[in-house]
Subunit: 308 residues, 2 copies
């Protein structure tokens, strides 16, 4: 009997895979390496489903839906992904390609949007929340009444490319001083320019030792993240903002910086203070299944209505 819902968060290096029972319980979770290019990604998706089945002790035929969260521009209607550069994918009809060997409901969603849905579900937010992803790039997903708010053209939550400093660094998007230039892992590492395996950690470490450029960049990370939170609240007025993504591996060092920055801004402005932004943010815990869970929900929502 096909009753199991699978969610896959496809990242640049690994897939986080989750199997959900009909009652929403987690049946199995596993991580496997991501493939490269169209063929590699499709193979890895199949491998992930098989690994889940083996780990959870159920046959693959019990899977009724597969939801895939993937970086890049996603046409959710068509199940197509565009410009997933970290995966070597330019344009791929991912849902169709997966269904060739796995004849179940397959849905594809942008990874940040899927993570937003999952984070909202884990928190049980009744009203509204945003998931702010500080990864290589910066973007947010907005969840209203338990559903993704996509906006008119799918750019809702794209706060990474709001400009907050006309004299700031040039962004990959062509603008200057975008939020992403301050708190996106890619832009900050590039500005740092010293290489290393974990440039953000190096920056935070050296900032503590008094290095002026590291301090400037570190303060910029908090400024950028605080600007993103402010933008989400002063435009969509979401109740809470959950912050995740690779940069949040810095944990409390990052979170404390952001809270401090928000409190400084509150001290300067009674209006901003009245928003209590410092109380409306939280970090997604390390290892949270939010992204894979959100993908599973996306897949389940794609089932024909009668078996949802």
């Amino acid at each position: 009997m096909s009753v199991i819902r699978v969610g896959l968060d496809v990242g640049g290096t690994k897939i986080d895979a989750l199997a959900l029972a009909p009652d929403g319980a987690f049946l199995a979770r596993t991580r496997i390496p991501t493939g490269w290019g169209d063929h590699g990604v499709v193979e890895a998706v199949h491998d992930a489903v098989e690994a889940l089945a083996a780990g959870g002790g159920f046959p693959v035929s019990d899977v009724e839906s597969v939801g895939i969260g993937i970086p890049g521009l996603v046409d959710a209607e068509a199940g197509r992904v565009l410009h997933a550069v970290n995966l070597g994918v330019t344009e791929l009809d991912l849902a169709d390609a997966v269904q060739v060997r796995l004849p179940v409901a397959v849905a594809v969603e942008n990874d940040v949007k899927a993570a937003a849905l999952g984070a909202g579900s884990l928190r049980g937010d009744a009203h509204s929340m945003a998931y702010l992803n500080l990864g290589t790039g910066v973007a947010a997903g907005i969840v209203i009444d338990g559903a993704l708010w996509r906006g008119a053209h799918g750019t809702a939550g794209e706060v990474g490319h709001l400009c907050v400093d006309p004299h700031g660094r040039v962004c990959g998007c062509g603008q200057r001083g975008c939020i992403e230039t301050f708190c996106g892992g890619g832009a900050v590492s590039k500005a740092w320019g010293r290489g290393g395996e974990l440039p953000l950690r190096d920056i935070f470490d050296l900032a503590e030792q008094g290095d002026p450029f590291a301090r400037e960049l570190r303060e910029g990370v908090a400024f950028g993240a605080a600007s993103a939170v402010r933008s989400l609240v002063l435009s969509a007025d979401v109740q809470s903002v959950v912050i995740g993504g690779g940069v949040t591996a810095l944990g409390d060092r990052l979170f404390d910086d952001i809270v401090r920055r928000l409190r400084q801004e509150s001290a300067q402005s009674p209006f901003i203070g009245s928003l209590h932004l410092d109380e409306r943010i939280e970090l997604l815990p390390a290892g949270s299944p939010a992204a894979a869970l959100g993908a599973a929900l996306v897949g389940a929502a794609h089932l024909p209505a009668e078996i949802r």
Copy 2:
């Protein structure tokens, strides 16, 4: 028979009053001066309803609802307005006070939110739009599927206080470089500092004559308005942004500046270009009844369900 819905847009100097027939047709429209202080505002509301009745040839007893759009912080549930400084009102239970002499459904809404609802209704926007008000201050109202999107705490659309330049002028809110410091009539007039009856028009005129400070301020107005549009699209992703408010008395001179600015930004950034922001904005026509119409809709929505 009580069937007529009245909408009042209460401004700093005048009330724009509109009476709607049951089928939505405009029965009467009039403008009367606004009163000052709690008593003055309540009296002016009554005067406006009576002026409408006289102008439309119907008895006041035919009015079934009165909706009031008013600047300031509005508690729509309670029908209370706070800090309507331009009207000399600190805290007023406006709905209750009006109902003492006019026993009909009375609802109160922030003027920008009411105007957003009216502008959305006039355009017949199915999906999503924002009304961006460039008045003394700057704020937007967001309408999704024909209903106001208030957000978790009523700050949805408060893009006037997003900071877009950390080195910009200090805003009345305490922050630096808010959008409002660039394109709010109050802040720009203050920065100009030369008085005059229509400082914004003077600035635009002198900018054309080459005055450097006037040019800087005029470019700032377009930058601020473009930043507000970008913020609304990259956060809530509304389909269209209708721009109104006192500053838009400058008409096409202002609109052309904003379009030019948006196109410059598009030329710098393919991502921003892909949003086609220049095609998603329009000016609210001078004399538009949007604000009064929105107020009437707010009042009608406040009727007990069985007679809506």
